[in-house]
Every structure is written in C-alpha cells, then in structure tokens.
C-alpha cells in the first residue's frame, strides 16, 4: 500500500503526461464564467456571467448581483449565441473571475478588491488597476470559445490576454473539443446543452469538423421561457415571485393562494434584476420538477388505440414545487411537456413574441445533420462516442431520451452515450477538458507565445488554433 501512494518527495519515473506550468483555464459561458488552474478537478472560480450596473459602476460576482440595489440593471456581456458581445465589460468580468480567486492581484489593495466598493471610489479604482502589474504575467492562459465564434472575437481574446493581462502564452480551444477531452475522447459527437444554445458537433482527433456544426437556441433559456409560458397557461395562473420579494411566508395547502408578506421597495427593482431572480427560481424548478419523456417514442406518439404516451406520463407520480412565496402545487403531465419541444417541435408550448421552433432545431434533427456533414467512415465511431455535456442536459430523463431517439434514427448502429455522472463534471465539462489539456506536457509546444503574438499579430490565432 504504502509503496503505491506517491510520496511528495518523489517524482514519477515513467512517462507521465502531465507537466503543469500553472496555466489558467478560462471558460466563459452565457450563465457563468468558470476559471481555475489547469490540472485541478473543478474550477476554483465560478462567477455569474450576469453583472449589475448602476450608472457607471459595474458590479460583479454572485454575492453582489443577487442583492437588491436600487436602480441596478442586470446585463450580460455574452450575446444570445454564447459569443462575447461587449468586450469591454467581458474583459473586466473575466479579470474579476480570475483575480477574485486565483491570482493575488487585487486582494492586496482594499480599494480595488470589490468588497469596499463605493460608487464614489470608482475612478480611483480604475487608476489603481492601471498601475498594477499585469494580471497574468506568470500564467499562460487557455481560453475556451464556441465552435462558431467569429474571427474578430478570437482576435480580440488574444489581444486582451496579451496586451491587458500580459500573459506569457495563450491558447484558444473549442469548448466542445474540451468537453470531449473531459470524457476521455478525442473523437466524439458532442451534444452540449447549455443555457443559450444547444450545439451538436462532430470532433475528430481533437479538431472540430466545421461542416458538422449544428446549433439551436432550444437550451436552458428557452426552457425557462417555456416554463413561463406554462405558468401563464395553467389554471389558476402561477405567480412567479422571486425570493428577494418575499419577507415572510406561511405554509399553505397545495393549490391554495400564497400567504406571504412581501418586501416593499421605495425604488422598485429593475425589470432586468427581477428577471434574473425569476430565472433562479426557474432553474430550481428545472432541477427538481421537469422531466423529459424518456422514450420510447415521443410524448405524443400512440401506445394503442386512443391512448398515447401522455397517458402513461400522466399516470406517473407528480412532483410538488413550492414557490418562494409558499404557494405550491403538484405538477403531473405538465412537467413532461416543457422539455418535449427540444425533441419534437410540434410539442413546443407557444410563447408570445417568440418564433416557434422548427424541426431542424430539435436535437434529433441536429444530430442527423451533424453526422450528415462528416465522412461516412467516421459516423459509426461518432455514434459510439456521443458525449453529453452542459447544465441543461441534467434535466432528468435527458440521456434516456437521447438514446431512444438515436436508436430510432440509427437502428443498425451501435450507440454509446457518455455522460459524466457527477453534476459538476457535466456542467464544467469544457473547463475540465481545458484543465486536462493545459496540464499536459505535450501541450507546451502548442501555446502561442507573446513573442509569436508580437511577431505575427492577433491573426496568429486563426493560423494556430484551428
């Protein structure tokens, strides 16, 4: 026993792939920014991608943005397709996510560590930052990006890493590739169901196949809007009251109106703040109530004369959800209906002001299209290496349904779905992959160094990170 555990004073003698150079991995997504040291298991820093803004002051971090502050607007630097839109804020947000937990930079200065923030200090803080040594002078940075990110945004990332943060080396990796790495695969069909997008991408030997990139918006945010639509359509209507509105509540029977005392605000919270807080309730609801019809067949497909899977679903035990204001009720068949639109566009609940999803946006169709865009010889391999990642894939029944749909689509093929069992591994799939990649000894030769950046300019990412 004792001989097997590695002693800290020994070095591994055989060839062991890791060789850590204290690289930092940064994985921005629509809901959160994940950052941490390469070689670790989970990101040390997990920061909401939403930020608060009051006037000129920007507020980052979950501790701050979920507190009511008069006049605070909630924004997100990420665009609807998961690509950075507002680079100025994104730079600060990323910097915050790195420096608040990982490197030593601002903690030494009480004026800039975010704890003593006061609107009138704002300009002082900015000056202070300027004088600091660069954030990441000692750490190579591995950043992730979506498969569809634009050249401009790629060039911008290296620019910021090199110029603003002073990284000695930089790399830009596709998050789907990293998710595959996290599952131990270099060739895989990655189904990433995040917040803003579902993407299905074929990966061969660690490189994405561009002709196979499929994405659609039927992901976590869309599910939330389905939920809102559901809450509006049931009788009686469900009032979505976020936690911060409720001062105290008394338990009530299922279906009874809520009895709660609400907080009053002199300056009412902004709509964006309320929406953010409502979304948190919806996420809870998604985590605990929603279920995907696991198959076989669709929810609407028949099981016999006059009966469909809906009847089967209806007969399954319901789940109770209590709203922050105490109102609670049992959810039966409805909890199956919310997620059905991801698989069957006809089953999507209508949402006012939203274009109903098309067939091509459903997950089975995307997989079909993605596989259609790769070489024939690769397809069976890909189907045997289906990697599922992203937060929304955690809704219960998702993997069963995916498997059922795939067996219908490809009855002759062998299908194997790889989905991490641990919640954290599923949500942080692409970060974990980055952590693996960034700590590999063979990766040292890949980094784009500062020198190369100076020599070839920002366009070097296009040439190197393919």
């Amino acid at each position: 026993m004792a001989s097997q555990t590695m002693n800290s004073s020994m070095q591994p003698t055989d060839v062991y792939g890791g060789d850590e150079v204290s690289a930092i991995v940064l994985d921005p997504g629509y809901t959160s920014v994940r950052a941490g040291f390469a070689g670790e298991e989970v990101p040390k820093s997990f920061v909401s991608a939403h930020y608060g803004q009051i006037g000129d002051q920007l507020i980052f971090g979950d501790n701050e943005i979920h507190n009511y502050k008069p006049g605070m607007e909630i924004r997100n630097p990420m665009g609807k397709d998961g690509v950075v839109e507002d680079w100025d804020v994104a730079t600060k947000l990323f910097e915050y996510s790195i420096t608040s937990r990982l490197t030593r930079f601002p903690q030494s200065d009480p004026r800039s560590n975010g704890l003593n923030d006061d609107p009138k200090d704002a300009d002082v803080e900015m000056d202070a930052v300027e004088e600091q040594e660069k954030t990441l002078e000692e750490h190579p940075l591995l950043m992730t990006e979506t498969a569809w990110s634009t050249t401009k945004s790629r060039e911008k990332s290296i620019e910021i890493a090199m110029e603003n943060w002073g990284c000695p080396a930089f790399w830009l990796a596709r998050n789907s590739v990293l998710a595959a790495f996290a599952s131990g695969k270099a060739t895989a069909l990655v189904v990433d169901v995040g917040a803003s997008n579902v993407s299905v991408i074929s990966i061969h030997d660690g490189l994405i196949l561009k002709k196979s990139i499929q994405k659609s918006p039927l992901a976590g945010n869309w599910l939330s809007s389905q939920l809102r639509s559901l809450f509006g359509s049931v009788e009686p209507k469900v009032d979505l009251v976020p936690h911060f509105m409720v001062r105290s509540k008394t338990p009530v029977d299922a279906g009874a109106p809520a009895q709660a005392i609400y907080r009053e605000f002199k300056i009412p919270p902004t709509a964006s703040f309320r929406a953010l807080e409502e979304d948190r309730v919806l996420t809870e609801f998604k985590e605990s109530v929603i279920q995907v019809w696991p198959g076989p067949g669709r929810l609407s497909s028949g099981t016999g004369p006059g009966s469909t899977n809906e009847d089967v679903a209806r007969s399954q035990p319901g789940r109770v959800f209590e709203m922050p204001d105490g109102a609670n009720q049992m959810w039966g068949l409805e909890r199956f209906k919310v997620g059905e639109g991801m698989w069957d566009e006809k089953a999507a609940l209508p949402v006012a002001g939203e274009i109903p999803p098309t067939k091509a946006q459903t997950i089975p169709e995307m997989i079909k299209a993605s596989l259609g865009g790769v070489d024939m010889d690769l397809r069976p391999t890909l189907l045997q290496n289906v990697v599922v990642t992203g937060g929304t894939s955690l809704i219960s029944g998702f993997n069963d349904r995916l498997n059922a749909e795939l067996t219908v689509l490809y009855p002759g093929a062998r299908i194997k779905i790889q989905a991490a069992g641990l919640t954290s591994e599923r949500r942080f799939g692409s970060w974990i992959g980055g952590s693996i990649l960034g700590s590999l000894g063979t990766f040292h030769q890949m980094w784009i160094s500062k020198k190369e950046y100076d020599e070839f300019g920002a366009n070097v990412v296009e040439k190197r990170c393919k």
Binding site: S8, S9, Q11, V15, D19, E20, V21, S22, E138, P140, P168, A169, H204, D205, L207, L209, K210, K211, S212, V374, D375, M376, D377, L378, R379, P380, V408, Y410, P411, G412, A413, G441, T442, H444, Q445, W447, S449, K450, K451, E452, K466
Partner: protein, 544 residues
C-alpha cells in the same frame, strides 16, 4: 500485532508503562443507553450482551522523518519543439548538490544556468509530405483535373492536418487565385468555378503524387519491402472503388429498423447453418473413418451395392449376437451408438444418404426419421435442385444405373482395384511420386473426373514405360549381337581383310534413327511432365 511490537518499532522503552486499563470500563456501571441501543441491550436480559464499541482509529500521523523536507523549486524550462524560445516554469525537485566544499570557482556557474529542455519535446513528430519542384511537377505530376496551385494547397493541408483525411476534407476550401485583372477581357468568364472535391479525389491525387515522388527519389527496384508495398498501395489507390465502398457503407448505415432486423435474423440463420454444417462435416469424418477401416480387411467391392450392404448388416448382426459388441467397437474405434447409426445409414444406400444430408441443410427439424420413411414421403419433401446446385452436388440423371448405386469414392477406386496387385503397386508408386493421395480427400464429381483422367494418363505412362523397357532390352540385344558379329568379323578381318565393314555401319545407323527418343530415361521424363500438369490440376481441385 501486539503493543510490544509497536513499541519495538517505535523504539520506545519495553513494557515500562502499564497497559491502559481498558477493560475496567466495561465492568463498570452500564451507561444509560437510549433508544435502539437500549433495546438491543435489553434483549440480553440478565446476561448483558458484550458489545464492544468499535473505535475507528485513524492512521497514526506519519512520524516526521528525520530528513529535512525535499526542496522543490519553480524551474524555468524550454521546449526545443517550439520555434520560439518560450520559457515556462514548472515545479521540479531541487537537485541535491553534493555537500562538497564550495570553492569560489566561477566556471561552474554557467553550467547551472543552462536551461533544461522539456521531456516532451521528443513527442513532436511531423508527417513527411512529398516535396517537388516546378521541374518535377511539369515532367511527372501534371494533371488535367488539378492545377499546380491547388495541388500545392492540398499538400499544404495534408501537412497541416497530419494526413487526417476527414479533417482535410472538412477544412478543404480552395480558392483559385484571382487571375490578374490587368488583362480586363471578360474577367467573369475566366474565374474558374471552385470544384467540390470528394475525399477520394483528394486521396487519389495525394497518393499519386506521393508514389511518384517516392519512385523519383528511390527507383522501384531499389525499394525495400516496406517501402515497396507502401508504394504499391498508394499507386493502386482506386478512388472509384473507394467511393463505391462508401456508398455501400452509407446504405448500410441508413438501413431502416426492418432491414436491420432482417439482417439480424439472417445472421442468426447463417450461424445456425454454419453450426449444422460443422456437425455435418463431423459426421462425414466419422463416416470416412468407418469406411477406412475395412479396406485393410480385403475386398470391399462386395459391399459397394445396397444388397451387399444388406448382407454385411446381417452378418454383423449375427456376429453381434454371438460376440460382444465391444469387439467391433475395438476394431473400428467408434462408440456403439455411432456404429449403429452408421449401419442404418449404410443400409439405406448411398444415394439416399446424400439426399437426406442435402435435406438437413434446409429443413433442420427432420433429420433422422427421413430415412425410415418410404421413398415417397422423402420425395415429397425433397427440394427441387436448381441446375447450379445439381452441378455443385454432382447430381446426374440416368435412365438406368448399371450395377446400381455406388459410393463415388468406390467408383473412383475401381480402376485401381480392378488391376492386378503388381499393377496396383505401380500406380500407387506413381501417385505417391505425384503426391496425390491414393484415397481422395474430397471426392467430388469434378475431382473424380480429374482423377479418372489422371489414372488413364498413368496407365498410358505405364504402358509407355513397358514399351520403352521392351525396346531398350531389344536394343541391348541388338547391340550385343552386333558386338558379337563385329568380334566375329574382326576375326574374319584378321583372317581375310575388310570387306564387310561398311555394311555394319549402315545397319548401326538405321538402328539409331529408328528409336532416337526411345531411351527409357527421356520417355519417362517427358510423360512425367505431362502428367504433372494434370496432377497439378487435380490436386488444386482437392484443395478446394
């Protein structure tokens, strides 16, 4: 492990300290237990159950080793696989310097400063893509379909993506160079349409170039085995066939549920058929083993007809009654059940057996009972053979069979067995020389025909040899006579001159021209070579 051992190990003084009085605790007043624990205790009534609380003891803290902690340092290093000299830093154990007295030697300092190279640099391997110059391209690599520019682009991609074709195909995006605008005449017409290239196109082009360049650098005749086979493989790449294969694969991939099911059931069926086939060959082997045995015991011709077999059965039955069955078994090396089965099959005649075995392949359920039914019942179930199958099974139709049904293997043997034993021996010798087994391994109809041809050829050969032998002896006789006559003539010459000399010479000449090739050796050789082609064919058949 006793405490003594522990003390020993820890180098503590012997059993100086008294052992902790642990047991006292148990003897003491029982604690006021609550809940389930009390219930459990009370189960024991007056004799309390001895429940010894198990105290989980964590591993003792490791004794601080006397050595000072190993020193690690953040060490910068380079990677020679990189083209720039990026310096990264990682934690390494500090090399322990020998505690030699440090002299103030300046020269040792720079040695220490030399930066270590990454141990991973050696994993940096690249594929070698063919390189050609303009001249070589013009003379050897021109193609109607590919411009030099596009070829360059392809080779570049192959190098960039390390020959990973799915990626090369995926990223292939060739933009032909925009023709110089200064000519200004109908520039729209000049712009060539970008072709969509299939992966097979690309592969074909690349392999062609790679093979050609390989041959240029190292002509085919000087290539090593591995090189040559690579060259051949690349040269023989067939894009059309590849495309077709992929189409098939795609069809297979796209099959519907029903088709998949059908395939599955067909595969099952195939498995069953193969299993049955195995059983059949097994049975056939047994049968051969049985057929082998009697040949040593003499004449088999007696049993080659169904009536003969009937007699044999009768005979065996009577032997059976008188003797123990075991004796037969011992002779044939078979289990009694098998013997019995074999007999019943033999009685039903060879033709019938063959049909029933045919039959078994298609209808698994009815195996043995078929034999016992009348020929009519068997005939009803009999499948009509197609022409092809008839050929395969060697079925032929006769109005009448002279001599009744026979084993083919007997029939084949007949031309040999009917000969005298001397002749038989001769035939066998020839066969042995040709390495054709006397008993054919697989006496199909075709092989039988070939074998017959072979036998007749052997007969011709033997006849030829006989004639040759006769002629040789005649020649020998003639020469002997001549010699004698010459001797006589010599005597005559000595006596009376050289009148008859010319005459003798003429006669000698005539003899030679009459049988120029009748020298026994040459005849034998030639007919053997003719024979060998025939036998080659027949052995090939047998292997099939």
């Amino acid at each position: 492990m006793t405490s003594h051992d522990v003390r020993d190990m820890l180098d503590l003084p012997g059993s100086a300290a008294p052992r902790p009085a642990k047991k006292q605790k148990l003897a003491g007043p029982r604690p006021n237990l609550k809940g389930l624990a009390r219930e459990v205790q009370s189960l024991g009534g007056d004799n309390p159950i001895a429940i010894v609380p198990e105290i989980s003891i964590f591993k003792k803290r490791r004794l601080a080793s006397r050595k000072p902690a190993a020193k690690w340092e953040l060490k910068p290093f380079k990677n020679s696989a990189r083209e720039d000299d990026l310096v990264l830093r990682h934690w390494k154990r500090k090399a322990e310097l020998p505690p030699a007295p440090v002299e103030e030697n300046v020269e040792t300092a720079p040695v220490e400063e030399e930066m270590e190279d990454s141990t991973f640099a050696k994993f940096n391997v690249k594929v070698n893509t063919p390189k050609y110059d303009d001249e070589q391209y013009r003379s050897r690599l021109e193609s109607d379909d590919w411009t030099k520019d596009e070829t360059d682009y392809l080779i570049g991609l192959v190098q960039e993506y390390d020959l990973r074709w799915p990626i090369i195909w995926d990223r292939y995006d060739y933009q032909p160079p925009v023709p110089a605008l200064d000519e200004g005449e109908g520039s729209i017409a000049i712009v060539p349409a970008t072709k969509t290239r299939s992966m097979e196109d690309m592969k074909a082009r690349y392999y062609k170039i790679a093979a050609t360049m390989m041959a240029i650098h190292n002509p085919v005749q000087f290539m090593g085995q591995a090189e040559f086979s690579l060259h051949e493989m690349m040269n023989n790449f067939d894009a059309k066939q590849e495309t077709k294969r992929k189409q098939f694969a795609e069809l297979n991939f796209r099959r519907s549920r029903e088709e998949a099911k059908e395939e599955e059931s067909l595969l099952l069926e195939l498995k069953r058929i193969l299993a049955r086939n195995d059983k059949l060959t097994e049975e056939r082997k047994e049968l051969y083993a049985r057929l082998e045995a009697p040949i040593s015991s003499g004449n088999l011709g007696l049993y080659s007809t169904s009536t003969g077999l009937q007699q044999l059965l009768q005979q065996l039955m009577t032997v059976d009654k008188s003797k123990k069955r075991k004796s037969i078994m011992g002779m044939e090396g078979m289990s009694p059940a098998v013997v019995g089965q074999g007999n019943s099959q033999q009685t039903s005649g060879s033709g019938d057996r063959r049909e029933s075995s045919n039959h078994r392949e298609s209808v698994p359920s009815s195996t043995a009972p078929n034999n016992k039914k009348g020929p009519q019942a068997a005939g009803n179930e009999r499948r009509k053979l197609t022409e092809e199958e008839e050929r395969v099974y060697g079925v032929s139709h006769h109005d009448r069979l002279p001599g009744g049904p026979q084993f083919r293997h007997e029939k084949i043997q007949k031309p040999i067995t009917s000969k005298s034993s001397v002749q038989q021996q001769k035939i066998n010798n020839v066969l042995a020389e040709l390495e054709v087994p006397i008993r054919l391994v697989m006496p199909t109809a075709d092989v039988g025909v070939q074998f017959e041809q072979l036998l007749s050829a052997i007969n011709t050969l033997l006849d030829g040899r006989k004639v040759a032998d006769k002629l040789t002896s005649e020649i020998a006789l003639a020469t002997e006579q001549k010699r004698l006559r010459e001797e006589k003539e010599k005597e005559n010459k000595e006596a009376g001159g050289a009148e008859g000399g010319a005459e003798v010479k003429v006669e000698e000449e005539r003899e030679k021209s009459a049988a120029p090739s009748v020298k026994a050796g040459s005849v034998h050789k030639r007919s053997a070579s003719v024979l060998s082609t025939v036998s080659d064919k027949s052995t090939k058949r047998q292997k099939k």
